[in-house]
């Protein structure tokens, strides 16, 4: 997956066996990450990006990726910042320090959600069994990130490659999301 966006950050959880492994689509559990919710006003965007190590995207539904850093646009004043698991304190502190005098809210949400990596030729098809978004590359290019709904669960979808998506859900919803994806993929094995 070397050509994928943020491949130094988004990695399968080495300790977990694949949830699904078919010729044309696989589902892997993502490794733990530092996830921070950052809220601030426009004036602080630059400083925050500098402190984080990847600038904060201001274009809706896009991401900015730096060295082991990714900043995902979640809303006009909301970003999810991704960094390696062990960098939690350092990232948190450096942003807090940089924004000491600027109104903002930085909250650790590392463990609020879990991620799975859905990849393969049939990845978009599989997501479309529960998500009502056009995943053609024209409509949803690599790098696009959004919150949406998978059947009855809120999820976040981030396209990190033409055939690769990171899907995040709140922890207690992940059994539902991953379980349904695996179930829906069964028919791909049928003759």
């Amino acid at each position: 997956m070397s050509e994928l966006l943020a491949n130094d950050l988004i990695t399968p959880d080495a300790g977990e066996s694949p949830l699904l492994s078919l010729g044309n689509v696989s589902i892997l559990k993502g490794a733990p990450l530092t996830r921070l919710s950052l809220r601030l006003r426009e004036a602080s965007v630059k400083d925050a990006g500098k402190a984080f190590g990847a600038s904060l995207p201001v274009k809706a539904l896009t991401c900015e990726v730096g060295d082991k850093r990714a900043a995902l646009w979640m809303g006009p004043d909301e970003w999810t910042l991704l960094a390696p698991e062990d960098d939690l304190q350092s990232v948190f502190n450096s942003i807090e320090t940089a924004l000491k005098d600027q109104p903002h809210a930085l909250v650790d949400i590392s463990e609020r959600s879990e991620s799975i990596i859905v990849s393969g030729e049939k990845a978009a098809w599989l997501l479309n069994t529960g998500i009502f978004i056009d995943f053609s590359l024209e409509a949803f290019p690599v790098g696009m990130v959004t919150r949406t709904v998978f059947h009855k669960s809120p999820v976040m979808v981030w396209r990190t490659g033409p055939d690769t998506f990171v899907v995040e859900a709140w922890v207690s919803f992940m059994d539902y999301v991953a379980g349904l994806l695996v179930q829906a993929a069964q028919e791909l094995q049928a003759a």
Binding site: E111, F132, L180, E187
Partner: protein, 1000 residues
């Protein structure tokens, strides 16, 4: 293997693939490519069902999804699916089918007695009788009516199949794959637009598959179809969906499709879904749904053996089946003549063509004459003979006077009829477009488009191959241009031939029979006759909707696709108003009946709704915990040991908490991090309580109202720093509190520098409660001084638990010394297991929500949603203390000042003690002043919570009682079916009234 009505050759069936199937237990043979209907007809079987009301014998009438008569049950995977149309059921090896609505058999049905009593059962008869004696409706009449009604039998066992779902987007959706649909798909696809082409049939091509007298691009139309489908199939931007019905057209160009994936297979891979729901957002839609032929309304027009002319032709040309050996063709337009010619060409005796027109077109007359077919021009069918199969038809000659003269009797074993064609405007109508009457075409056709769609070909009343192809190309081009702004040059093919669908007749046909004796059916399935429609009008039904509902015409499973136009014309005549002023009924989704399982999709079993589990879930399962559903969460209700029932388990758990220590999973409580310089100001405005002076490291109970002034949520809020609060909410309120906070923040106070983030799932929360709570947690906590002075009740500190960061709250919902430890979710299991082991050392226990409820009730703490119900103010709940009196404003402040909220005699929160300490009140029980209140007495209040209190060794209850706080010590009554229970009104705190235990 004899199939006496099979042609020697021809048709699209695979003659090398013979299949065996059964109908009502009889083993029969057919071929791959047959429908059940074509295979039955090949075996000479016309009688396949009984009608709804009169149980009249009925035969296959059509060859498509509009079939009103040939509804059968199909056995598959051990159960039966009712009401499937034999005309749509594809034949496979071993298919088992049964007829419906007959007893004991299709041939001898006792229900047919209704037919002889039919004079008693005109339209709406049931509104006029069955009223005496009164009690007989429920007990006698209704059960009889219900047993007689209904078509097939419902399935008897749960469905073992599963159903798929796919959300899709496309530029152009083409519905229907006849000539215009294929042309539209080609034209759109060539532009590069993303095209979905769907057709309800197994094979693409529509009428082109049974076309014998036309050519496209110099080829047999069926060959052109194959080439076209191959070309479309090779394009990446095209999705081909056969066996897929576009059944619903909703707002904003949302179309739902039902794809039948496995039902046509003798054996299907169980991993495949039985059906798949496609939920499609199309930029543009082309409706190429074609047209269907109209029955003629003449007396006894419902005998088995009477079919639509085009169906007869399709059975012949597409399936290689002759509908009879001696066929009479009755028509009012050109198209049926071709059916007669095709049959004659296959050696079937066409006994006559009876055309209502005085002078049918000469070219047709010439062809008929060349084949030696007798033509009866100006002739109409006035009746038929034969009960289970037509034996003969009566002809009548139309006279200029409008009268009909007898035209003799014609022997026949099948009658093909054509009253003309009706464009299929169902989807257009569902898109909320209004059809308009086209007098030239004699049909209702789509009017102005309301959504991004256009109809093409026969679905807008256009016929003839060349014209429909051209129209299809144009529709496809237009749709693609509108969707993606592109056009493309495509090679358009020329065509000749094709059916002319113009002309025809509407309504009941004249005859020379005794009008009061004969019945001419308008709606076959519901047994509605022309007389019924006239009766409805006579009785004052003027709107077509009234006529429809009164007679039930158009309400059968074909939604009136066959009957509506005839009914309308009859109503128009009876009302003496032009048809266009009678109105039209609305076509509803679904276009054809659609499986419930398809709608339900994956939402079943554990996937019916997400099952949200806490970090202690697995441990609780292993340790015998019993769960309750709270919203989507599974919470441990109680932890029975050694076969305890809920009562003993809860008693033990509660006692243990009070005596030593208990461990409770509080992870489901909502958590919200409120951060920013204006955080305190924001909470000040949201909650009733004051927040600005709360010091970092301290907590306060917060009460949240709505702007009407009623309690909606509560929770402890801890201040972590000047600009950071950790807010907790109820489990059920977590999402709605966030939503309401966002609402006020974004739309009322956007100037505040504060943001809220849900952290419910970031943290796992273990509540350790009881005198030994401190001892239990002490070994694992670092960085926090746990002493009462350093960490008093209602305080919060950050430190570590077993080395991982934690937020430690000293709070209590039990009245005991208590802590709630928040660690990040991933460490929740570790924390729970560590503490569960540790409490054992202190003779502690884990406890569930039930004990939590009891413990808090002993202390008189409310549970929002149980002790409050959305009509309770803070004052009512005895919580005036929670209101910041000096505050300028908070959500609900103004609401609380409204007259009724400040009125006397409001229900107030009190405690109740039964006089007999063993008697436990029922929650929800009503409270009265009188010991034996008369029925209709207004209650003084009701019991909100009621438990056996282990600490008090007696029962306790909480209640809302009018003016209750003033009734302390008074006796009230709780009237129950088996006697009234006296209760004493008390304060709400039953245990440790001074609150000493909490401050240790």
């Amino acid at each position: 293997m004899s199939q006496p009505f099979r042609t020697e050759k021809g048709g699209r069936i695979d003659r090398n693939a013979p299949l065996t199937f059964t109908f009502d237990g009889e083993e029969l043979h057919g071929h791959k490519g047959d429908t059940l209907a074509s295979a039955l007809l090949a075996n000479g079987i016309h009688l396949v069902g009984r009608s709804f009301k009169y149980h009249r014998p009925r035969g296959i009438m059509s060859c498509g999804s509009e079939e009103p008569n040939a509804l059968v049950g199909i056995y598959r995977n051990g159960d039966q699916t009712p009401n499937l149309r034999a005309t749509q059921v594809e034949l496979y090896q071993g298919l088992q089918s049964i007829s419906q609505n007959r007893f004991p058999s299709l041939g001898f049905d006792v229900g047919a007695v209704n037919d002889f009593m039919s004079p008693l059962f005109p339209a709406g008869f049931y509104y006029k009788t069955f009223m005496w004696p009164k009690s007989f409706w429920d007990r006698v009449y209704e059960p009889i009516i219900r047993a007689a009604a209904g078509l097939g039998k419902p399935p008897k066992s749960p469905d073992h199949d599963h159903y798929g779902n796919l959300y899709a987007h496309c530029d152009v959706l083409v519905v229907g794959s006849g000539p215009s649909g294929l042309a539209a798909a080609l034209a759109a696809a060539e532009t590069g637009a993303k095209v979905i082409l769907c057709d309800e049939q197994a094979e693409f091509g529509g009428t082109l598959l049974s076309e014998s007298s036309a050519s496209i691009d110099g080829k047999d139309p069926a060959d052109w179809v194959s080439e076209t489908i191959a070309a479309l199939g090779a394009m990446d931007n095209v999705t081909l969906l056969p066996r897929t019905t576009a059944f619903g057209y909703f707002a904003h160009n949302f179309i739902s499709l039902a794809e039948r994936v496995t039902e046509h297979l003798a054996e299907a891979d169980p991993r495949l879904p039985r059906e798949r729901l496609w939920q499609v957002r199309a930029k543009e839609v082309v409706i190429a749904a074609g047209a269907i032929e109209r029955p003629m309304v003449f007396p006894e027009n419902d005998r088995p053996g009477i079919l639509l002319a085009d169906a007869g032709r399709t059975y012949l040309n597409r399936y290689g089946v002759k509908v009879g050996h001696k066929v009479l063709v009755a028509t009012a337009c050109d198209s049926a003549w071709q059916a007669a010619f095709d049959l004659a060409d296959h050696g079937v005796e066409v006994v006559a063509i009876a055309d209502m027109r005085e002078t049918p077109p000469e070219n047709l007359m010439a062809i008929a004459s060349a084949r030696g077919i007798r033509v009866e021009a100006g002739c109409v069918v006035t009746g038929t003979l034969g009960r289970k199969r037509i034996k003969a038809a009566l002809l009548g000659r139309l006279m200029t006077s409008g009268q009909v003269a007898s035209g003799g009797q014609v022997e026949c074993d099948a009658l093909l009829m054509s009253g003309g064609w009706t464009p299929t405007v169902s989807l257009y109508s569902q898109s909320r477009g209004k059809v308009v009457w086209d007098a030239d075409k004699g049909a209702y056709v789509p009017g102005v488009s309301v959504q991004n769609e256009r109809s093409t070909g026969a679905s807008k009343g256009l016929y003839g191959l060349q014209a429909t192809l051209e129209d299809g190309y144009a529709a496809g081009e237009e749709a693609a241009k509108a969707a993606i702004g592109k056009t493309a040059k495509i090679t358009k093919v020329a065509a000749t031939g094709g059916e002319a669908g113009y002309g025809g007749t509407l309504g009941a046909l004249p005859h020379d029979r005794n009008a009061s004796r004969v019945r001419a059916f308008v709606d076959y399935q519901n047994d509605v006759t022309a007389k019924d429609v006239k009766l409805a009008v006579r009785e004052g039904m003027q709107s077509i909707e009234h006529i429809k509902r009164y007679t039930t015409t158009g309400m059968a499973t074909d939604q009136g696709r066959l009957s509506n136009m005839n009914a309308l014309q009859i109503a128009s005549g009876a009302l003496e108003r032009p048809m266009t002023q009678v109105g039209l009924t609305t076509f509803r989704q679904p276009f054809t009946p659609t499986t419930f399982g398809l709608f339900a999709g994956i939402s079943r079993g554990d996937f019916f709704d997400p099952v949200r589990k806490t970090p202690s879930h697995d441990w609780a399962v292993e340790n015998g915990g019993v769960f309750e559903d709270v919203g989507q969460w599974k919470r441990t209700w109680y932890f029975p040991k050694n076969g305890e029932d809920i009562h003993s388990a809860v008693t033990r758990e509660c006692k243990t908490v009070r005596d030593s220590v208990g461990l409770f999973d509080a992870s489901t409580l909502g958590k919200i991090e409120v951060v920013g310089p204006d955080a305190a100001e924001f909470l000040e405005r949201m909650y009733t309580n004051p927040w600005k002076k709360l010091a970092p490291g301290r907590c306060r109970y917060g009460l949240l109202l709505n702007d009407a002034g009623f309690i909606t949520d509560d929770g402890v809020i801890g201040r972590l720093a000047d600009d950071r609060f950790h807010v907790t909410t109820t489990t059920g309120g977590a999402a709605s509190v966030v939503a309401r906070m966002e609402d006020y923040l974004q739309t009322e106070w956007p100037d505040l520098d504060v943001w809220i983030t849900s952290t419910t799932e970031q943290y796992a929360v273990a509540a350790v409660q009881g005198p030994k709570a401190r001892d239990v947690i002490a070994p694992f906590i670092e960085g926090i001084d746990l002493s009462a002075d350093a960490l008093p009740h209602m305080s919060v500190k950050e430190g570590t638990f077993c080395g991982v960061p934690c937020r430690l709250f000293r709070i209590s919902f039990t009245g005991e010394l208590g802590f709630e430890i928040n660690v990040s979710r991933r460490h929740g299991k570790m924390m729970w297991e560590t503490l569960a082991k540790e409490i054992e050392k202190h003779d502690g226990t884990t406890y569930g929500t039930e004990s939590m409820h009891v413990l808090r009730a002993e202390k008189g703490y409310i549970i929002v949603g149980q002790d409050t119900d959305g009509t309770v103010t803070p004052q009512d709940a005895g919580m005036s203390w929670a209101i910041g009196k000096k505050k300028f404003d908070f959500v609900g402040k103004r609401g609380l000042e409204r007259p009724d909220l400040t009125a006397e005699n409001r229900p107030q929160f009190v405690g109740l003690l039964t006089k007999d300490p063993k008697v436990k009140l029922e929650e929800g029980a009503q409270i009265t002043v009188a010991e034996n209140p008369a029925t209709g007495t207004s209650a003084e209040g009701y019991v909100t919570s009621s438990y056996f209190s282990p600490a008090l060794d007696r029962t306790i209850a909480l209640a809302m009682v009018k003016n209750g706080q003033a009734l302390d010590g008074k006796t009230l009554y709780v009237p129950m079916p088996d006697g009234s229970i006296p209760v004493e009104v008390t304060g709400t705190v039953f245990y440790d009234k001074e609150g000493a235990r909490i401050n240790v």
